[in-house]
Every structure is written in C-alpha cells, then in structure tokens.
C-alpha cells in the first residue's frame, strides 16, 4: 500500500438525502465512492489525490433496474453482474451485456458499477461506447433538484464531465427503441479477459427496406481523450447502401474523426487501423435479410 491511510476519509451517509446534503454543504470536498474497483487501485498506488469520500454503495435509491414503457432505467450502482443477469437488458441491450461480460473478471463484475464506469470517465472504459450507441441519458441528482443530460454530451474533455461537485449520478436511462437495431461490439485488449481495452468498438444500425442505412451509431473507446460517438462517420453512412464504396468512405471518415495516441498499451496507428477494420467488418454484416450481428 503506497497511500498513507490516515489521510483518507470514508463516510457512509445513511440516506441519499444525507449524501446530497453533505455534497451541497461542502462542495468539492467530498466525492462519491461506489464499488471501489477504480479508486482502490489508485489508493494502492498512492495516486488517489482526493482524500474525502462518501460511500454510496448501500443507498437503495441508486440501485435496481426499472423497466418503463419507454425506458430501461439502470440505477447508477447496477453492477456488471446485475446487467448480465437481467433478462430485459440482455434482450434489448446486448451491447451493454457484452461490455459488462468483458469488464474485468467475475470479481470485478460483482463489484464494479455502471455509474462508476461512467463517472470515472476513463476513455478506455468498456460500457460507455455501448451507452453511446443506445442514446443513453444520465439522471443527475443534487440537493437542488434533478437534471437529465444526454450521455453523448456528458464527457467534455479528458476526465472532464458535465457534472457539478454537488451532484450524484442516480441512473442511466436507455430508450427502448432497439428492436430492429443491428449491433456489433468488439473489445480489443490483447487478451480475452481482464484486459484494459486498446480499442473498444460498439455500433448499431437500422436498414430501410431498400437496404440503405437509415440510422447508424458508432461508439468508440480508447481512441480519444474521452469515449466518442462518431457523428461525422454516421453522417457519411446515412442513406447509403453498405457497399464497398460506402465502407471505404466510412472508414476514411472514421480515421479522420478519432484522435488515438501512442501509449504503453498500443499505438495510434494500430488503434486507427483496427477501428476502421472493425467498422468495415460491422458494415459488411449489414444485409437486408441478415439478423442482428453476431459479435455482441
């Protein structure tokens, strides 16, 4: 343990209201602590700069998966294991299930939370690309009220978010409009399990009856300072037939749209190339009589 333990404070407020009250009274002093699967790693390495935390793991208001006519609402504390076990999520949001299944090992999946994955704001996180494809919306709560933020505008820069210090992420809402969405998920991390992604690729598309793409959605991790929705490439695809020329144009657009870097895990060149390859692979599966793509 490289941290000096007496420097760190962890409190467990009794209720959500208590937690929000503390956050409002001392803004910026306290931060939420959920499953700990990211923060405890930083603590171990002596790299956890913030010192004061509120444990929110036990708060029932942040738990559970609720299905409404229009949405599936996942409490911020929903674990990766709970995501995989939920029949509705499995059926309607297979990309999210695939991401949950490939996040860490079983022990991480039992402890790590979807909300934590979002607000930890790692560009290499596994579930955010899927959330982007599903047009997720975040529900942020504070002592002064509740607001909803579209997920694709939430991350504003490396580890920067549209979230105030007095706010907590309460839930992630997914519109139940995925019926005819063909999806594709691929996490690339050298090994099959327990990997930090070098590229995380999630995509979905709908086809018109004439075979043209009417709705393309591409979410990528580890190719920019934040996870990104590739809107320009989606525009390139709109109303196009997924033929070779379209695939080529889309791949060319994608490598322009992302800004991967060299780091100890991989290279910019590799990330760009593989992202394009995966996009091409996804698009090549889009045929009128095909079902959902397989990789998720």
């Amino acid at each position: 343990m490289r941290a000096y333990l007496p420097d760190y404070h962890l409190r467990a407020p009794k209720t959500l209201a208590d937690a929000l009250d503390v956050l409002a009274r001392e803004p910026g002093v306290w931060r939420a602590f959920a499953g700990g699967t990211d923060l405890m790693v930083l603590l171990e390495f002596g790299a956890l700069k913030h010192k004061n935390f509120l444990s929110i793991r036990h708060l029932p208001e942040l738990r559970g998966i609720e299905v409404t006519p229009d949405h599936v609402v996942l409490g911020a504390l929903t674990s990766y294991t709970e995501i995989q076990r939920d029949a509705d999520v499995r059926r309607e949001f297979p990309l999210l299930c695939a991401a949950a299944r490939e996040t860490g090992g079983i022990a991480i999946q039992n402890r790590g939370t979807l909300g934590g994955n979002v607000v930890n704001a790692s560009p290499a996180a596994d579930s955010p690309p899927a959330l982007l494809v599903y047009d997720a919306e975040l529900e942020l709560v504070s002592a002064s009220g509740t607001r909803h933020v579209p997920y694709d505008t939430f991350h504003t820069g490396y580890k920067q978010m549209d979230m105030r210090p007095d706010e907590l992420l309460r839930s992630i809402r997914l519109p139940r409009t995925t019926g005819d969405l063909r999806t594709y998920y691929r996490k690339v991390g050298t090994r099959k399990a327990q990997a930090i992604s070098k590229i995380c690729f999630a995509a979905g598309a709908r086809l018109a009856t004439d075979g043209r793409i009417k709705d393309a959605r591409i979410g990528l991790g580890s190719v920019a300072p934040t996870v990104v929705r590739c809107a320009r490439t989606e525009d390139v695809l709109r109303d196009q037939t997924p033929d070779e020329a379209t695939i080529k144009a889309a791949c060319a657009s994608l490598v322009q749209e992302i800004v991967p870097i060299d780091d100890m895990r991989s290279t910019a060149e590799y990330r760009a190339r593989v992202a394009a390859n995966l996009l091409a692979d996804f698009l090549s599966t889009l045929k009128i009589d095909g079902g959902k793509s397989d990789s998720a």
């Binding site: 490289r2 000096y4 050298t190 090994r191 692979d281």
Partner: protein, 746 residues
C-alpha cells in the same frame, strides 16, 4: 508395503495446506517487535550520486536508515563476480538501483518516508539496448561492455562458404525481456546482530546462494548465518538470485536496528520494475545446406543483454550457446556468443535460461532454410535430426537412444498436422475470411543439470534420516516452489526403501539443518538431486543392514523395528550422499567442447493458430507437447510442469511485452504487462515418451522443468508464418507488430 510408487499420481505433500490456506508464506509470518523495511532507489539509469536529502515532515529519528557505509563486510552480492553492490555508494548503473534502506514499525509511515527521500544524481550517458552496447556507444562495464563470451567451434565453418552447390541462408532473430511474474512477490524476514549472527527467512529457490551472499556481506563464518526457505509462491528463476539482494537488505536493517526482526515484502510494482527478467537476445544465423537438404554449416552469433551487472549472465549465455544448434547433426558449427552490459536492471534467470532465446532463432531459421531448399519444414528436419552415436555442436557423442523423428511422427499424428497444414494453406488462399489459420512446430532438446563441469564443481550433498518410528526425512536444500520437489523426493526415497509414501517427508530447507544439495535451478532437482535422494535413502537401509538389524527382504514393520533398535543403540540414523559424475563424462571449459550435459530431454511441439486480420491478434487454438523425458516420476506433476511451461511460452510469444523508457520498465503493473488468463490458452495436450537414462533416479528420470519453455515461441511463429505469409523474427509478437508486418507485405 507399497511396491511401486514411482509413476503414480500420489497426493502432493503440501497440497492440503495449500488448498485450505494454511500454508505459510513469508508475508504470512510475523515476529514480536518486527519492523518493516523498504528500499530507496535510483531515479535515473546511470550517474554519480551527489546528495541524499531527507524531506520535511517525517520523524526521521524514529527510522532505521542504512547506507553503503553501514555494511559490515563487503558491499557486493556474491554470485559469480562481485560487481553488483547491495547499495550504490557513489555511482548508479541502472534505474531503480538500491541506494538506501529504511525501516519503521508503521509500514504506511514507512512508505511516506520513502517518498520523502530525494537522491540527487548527476546523470551520465547510458546505454539501453544490446545494439547500443555492442556498438560501444558508451562503455558502461569493464573495458568493452562484455561480461562474457564463448566460442563453440566444430569442424571448420569458414571453409564451407566457398564450396560449390550449397545454399546459404541468413537470418536475424530477437527476443524481448520477460517478467517471471510469480504471483508471490519477493519477500524476506531477517534477524541479524553481532551476538547471534544473521538469520533470513524468505521466498527463494536457493537457500545456499543467499547463505553465501550473507557471509560476504557481513564477513561472518558459515555457522553464524542461517537461511530458511518459507513456502514459496513461484520462482521460475526469478527467485534464484534476487533473494540474495532483498535478504541482505533486510539483514542490514535488522543489524542496524540491533537485531529487531525486519520484514521486506515488495509490492507488485516494485517487484516488476526492480528485479530480474529474461535476457533480451539477438541471434544471427548463417546456414549452409546441400540441395538435398543436409546441413553443412551453421554459423551462429548469439548476444544477450545482461543489464547493468554480471549476475548470472555468463551461465545464461552458456546454456543459450550450447542449445543454439539444436538437436541436429551438422559437421561444421560455430557459435560465437556474448553477454553485454546495458544500464537496465540486471537480467537474470528465467525458466530455460538462455535456451528459449537461441532455440527460437534456430527453429525460425530452419523453417526458412527448409523453404530455400524446397522441402517442408518437417522433411528438412527429418534429414538432419541427431541420432545415437552422432555428435552435438560441442562434440558430445549422444550415447542414449534418441528418436526425434519418432517424436515428430507422434506429434503430427496427435495434431493431424500434415492434413491441417495442407488444408490451411488451401483455405487461406481461397476464402476471404478475416481469420487466417496456421500450424507449425519446433523440435528441440534441453540439457538437464548444470552445464559441463558445473555439477562436479557443486558436489551436491543430500542427507536422509530416520527416527525411532521408522519415519524418513530427506535433508536437502532443494526447494519446493510449486514444481513438486517435496512430493517426488518422498516418492524416490520411499521407492528406494520399499516404504509407504506417507512415511517419508522433506525437511524444511534450512541451512542450519540440511546440507547443500545445490540450487533449485537448471532442471536438476529430479535428475541430479533426486538420484542423491535415492542413494542417501539406500544408505539408511545399508546402515541398518550393516548393523545386522535388517535383512535383504523386509516388511514395513521390520523396517520400523530396525530403526527403533538402531536409534536406541546408536542415536541418530543418518546417511549422506554426494554427487559423482557418471563415468566417461568429459568437459573442456576452455574449448567449450565435450559432454555439455549428462542427459537431454527431447521434444517436438506443435501449435495451431488463428490470426484475426481485423485486430491482428493471434489465438493459439491447440498445442501439443510431445517429449521424451527418461522416466515420468509423477504423471500429474510432470504434465503440470509441461502445461505451465507452455503457458509461459505462449505468454512470451504473444502477450508479454516489457515496455522500456530510459532503461526503466514503465508497464510494471499486472494490468499493463499482460499474461495469459484462463480464457486465452488453448488446450495444452501433453504426451510423454520414456527412454530411461541410465544414471537418472527411479530407473531413468531426466529433467523437465525448463524444457516446455523452449518450443512454444518458434512453433507459434512458424504457424503464424503459414497463416499470414509473413516471416516474423521477433517475440513477443504483439498485434501492433503483426499489423506492421501484414502492411509491409501488402
């Protein structure tokens, strides 16, 4: 009475304590008044220490502080040379080199204090790669950066190149560093003071190496130093030499603290960044072959990067050199090898010990040569396999029956190699799949025991003792590090005496109580030390028989009774046995000619792969390991050795990449240095052939510990070559490099 214990999967001796969590590793031990120790290390790769400053806000008077000035004896880790200091005094030669030690009873405060020490160093130019070292970019060790060089010279290579009608094929191959990644990090507890001497408990492979090092460090006579091995959570070579360093550090702190116990346990980041790794290597081949595919000459240059100090590089180089020409007959062989210095933490022992590096190069080169001749890789090798009565590169006459072609046949049969080779070639060419398939193999051998005269020099001793109830204890410094020493030694002793397995135990390796049976390295524990276990055990019986207490045929009850009467009459019943080389073994250390090893294990490994051309990732789909090992003492443990070694070889080939920056490993976390998980490995199918070695224990066992590390990398890259058509020459072959290779081809 159990009649035949050898070859049976008896339960692992310490199995129960391991599955219940009762087994005690060093970090599980605590002592009254114990302090925790830590190491302040160099932030730069090479330089002169200007000052050490102790920062504000730390109660420094509560800390034990040790610098080079506090060392009672010699400031050098005694191994082969004495060039590596325990604590840098004036100069540092690699990043993370130990400069100063601290101890305190509060380990959290200790860590805070470690961070508050600043070592101010005036940087000096450094070299970080073996290429830079060879080029003499900067002389950082000795006169020429060369720790050691060897020349193996058989026939006359230089006369071959001008001969007519030969094909000459050249190739260059390289391998990266690899972290041993035992799951238990290095750790020790030491108690040391002038009155009582020095005692170290720890995780280690070689208690007597640590013992020898402590004698020098403290200038004490042997009886004042005691080293005890605790349950050890993996070694793979990584705990061959390093425990001498960390053990010395803890002992220095305890000495300064007046004998209070001091525990040092590295965390994973420190263990990865500061301790040894497999030597990176560079091999150049020039091969002459007839148009019929007979090897005429092999000219091999083999270089390993030893890091900043000599440590074990000379012997790693030796093994790599001797294995460089493989299990083939060739009239002219020259191997020129060098271990060179760089300013990175010293590279050290890791399973295979130089052989995986040089065998990788050879087995890649031979696929290339086969292609040049127009033969399949298999047919080419068949024409050149060594046979009984023929000589190796060092001129060693193979006196045991060897059937490499038979191993190849068996491996091919088990994998349906020929049919798959043909089918994959067809399918890769025909379809547009993003998944490309390949199958490849490597054939190789691995010598058991120390090289050349090494065993004769070691003169290992094993003891056995029996108590009044007839229970036998084996006394040896050979350690159980997971590979099964406790179990096979008990098998060998009980087998030799015709006693129940349960009646035999291993004594804890404690230099105060067991003789020096040599280090637990070099695939020597079963073959060399096991043979001594047998003869020490037989010595017990002979003593009882000599005393007239036991007849030639006896029951277990008669054995117990004889022991009871002997102990009653004479006191302790003990027997010792010392190594003697088998007859007719000769080794010339000057010319590097002769019988390099007492025996070799022989093997053919086949790998089947799929390369994903979307992500450039390679999956090993199937792996078959066929080897001839003399005699299998314990089928489950033996297979476990092969499977574990193959898994490490797959890691070495496709997953494990040490990322360096200015001579420092920067991906020193398990998250970023990626070893295979259970989801990544193929089925590893293990098959043994037995051709008893006449001087091996249990009717002919040879060593197997390192063998499985050798064949994986070339077999996999040979398979990838079939899948991609690209001739890759470096491992680890990470997806990024595979992508570049495919791009260049396209």
């Amino acid at each position: 009475m159990q009649t035949e214990i050898v070859g049976k999967p008896v339960p692992r001796k310490e199995g129960r304590s391991k599955v219940t969590g009762a087994a005690r590793y060093v970090d599980d031990l605590s002592m009254p008044g114990m302090l925790y120790g830590t190491t302040v290390r160099s932030p730069v790769a090479r330089g002169r220490i200007r000052a050490v400053t102790f920062g504000e806000g730390i109660p420094w008077d509560e800390f034990v502080v040790v610098t080079a000035k506090d060392i009672p004896g010699e400031n050098a880790v005694a191994l082969i040379l004495l060039d590596q200091p325990y604590l840098a005094a004036e100069f540092v030669n690699h990043a993370e080199e130990p400069v100063l030690l601290l101890a305190h009873e509060d380990k959290h405060l200790l860590e805070r204090a470690r961070r508050a020490v600043t070592v101010d160093i005036e940087p000096l130019p450094a070299v970080f790669t073996l290429e830079e070292s060879l080029a003499g970019k900067e002389i950082v060790w000795g006169e020429d950066n060369v720790f050691k060089s060897y020349l193996v010279d058989k026939g006359n290579v230089d006369e071959v190149w001008t001969q007519p009608d030969l094909l000459i094929v050249e190739g260059e191959y390289s391998t990266g560093a690899q972290e041993q990644l035992y799951i238990e990090t290095n750790g020790v507890i030491a108690v040391a003071n002038a009155a009582e001497g020095v005692t170290v408990w720890g995780s280690m492979q070689c208690p007597y190496y640590v013992h020898k090092a402590l004698l020098k460090l403290f200038a004490l006579p042997p009886e004042r130093v005691r080293v005890v091995q605790c349950e050890t959570g993996g070694g793979f070579g990584g705990k061959e030499e390093y425990p001498s360093m960390i053990g010395g550090h803890a002992a220095l702190l305890s000495w300064k603290a007046g004998g209070r116990p001091v525990k040092i346990i590295y965390d994973r980041a420190e263990d990865m960044v500061a301790t040894t790794k497999r030597h990176p290597s560079l091999t150049r081949h020039r091969t002459a072959v007839t148009r019929e595919g007979k090897l005429v000459a092999m000219d091999i240059e083999f270089v390993v990067d030893g890091g900043a100090y000599a440590t074990l590089s000379a012997v790693v180089l030796s093994r790599g050199t001797i294995h460089a020409a493989g299990p083939y007959t060739c009239p002219n062989v020259r191997v020129r090898s060098r271990a060179v210095a760089t300013n990175v933490p010293p590279h050290g022992a890791f399973r295979g010990f130089g052989a995986p590096q040089s065998i990788f190069a050879l087995e890649r080169q031979l696929d290339k040569v086969a292609g040049a001749v127009g033969l399949s890789p298999a047919e080419f090798r068949r024409r050149n396999f060594i046979r009984e009565g023929e000589t190796t590169a060092t001129g060693q006459v193979i006196r045991e029956p060897v059937d490499m072609a038979g191993l190849l046949d068996r491996a091919f049969e088990l994998t349906d190699y020929e049919a798959k080779r043909e089918r994959f070639a067809r399918e890769n060419a025909e379809n547009n799949s993003t998944q490309k398939r390949g199958i490849g193999f490597a054939s190789f051998m691995h010598g058991a025991g120390f090289t050349g005269s090494g065993e004769d020099y070691l003169k290992s001793i094993v003891g056995a003792e029996a108590d009044a109830e007839g229970r036998v204890r084996v006394l040896a410094a050979s350690t159980e590090i997971g590979q099964g020493t406790n179990t096979i030694f008990a098998q060998l002793a009980s087998n030799a005496l015709g006693l129940d397995y349960d009646l035999v135990e291993m004594a804890q390796p404690d230099t105060g109580n067991v003789p020096d049976s040599g280090p637990t390295v070099a695939s020597r524990t079963c073959m060399i030390v096991g043979k001594l276990v047998e003869s020490a055990a037989v010595g017990l019986r002979q003593t009882l028989q000599g005393a007239g207490l036991l007849t030639d045929e006896y029951t277990q009850d008669e054995w117990r009774e004889a022991c009871r009467r002997y102990v009653e009459r004479y006191g302790a019943l003990k027997s010792f046995s010392q190594y003697k080389p088998p007859p007719g073994v000769h080794w010339d250390d000057e010319k590097y000619q002769g019988d390099a090893y007492g025996a070799y294990a022989w093997a053919v490994y086949v790998a089947e792969v799929t390369v994903d051309t979307l992500t450039y990732e390679t999956r090993v789909d199937d792996f078959v390991a066929v080897q001839e090992v003399g005699k299998v003492v314990h089928p489950v443990l033996a297979a476990g050795q092969i499977e574990g070694g193959v898994a490490q070889a797959i890691g070495f080939t496709l997953y494990e990449n040490v990322v360096w920056q200015d001579g420092r490993m920067i991906n020193n976390q398990m998250t970023n240095y990626v070893m295979p998980t259970s989801a990544d490995l193929p089925p590893i199918r293990v098959h043994f052939e037995e051709q008893p070695y006449q001087y091996g224990p249990a009717g002919g066992a040879k060593g197997i510990g390192e063998l499985p590390m050798d064949g994986g990398a070339p077999a996999i890259l040979n398979a990838i070559e079939q899948a991609t058509g690209v001739r890759f020459t470096h491992v680890p072959l990470m997806p990024e490099a595979l992508m570049r290779g495919l791009n260049e081809k396209a």
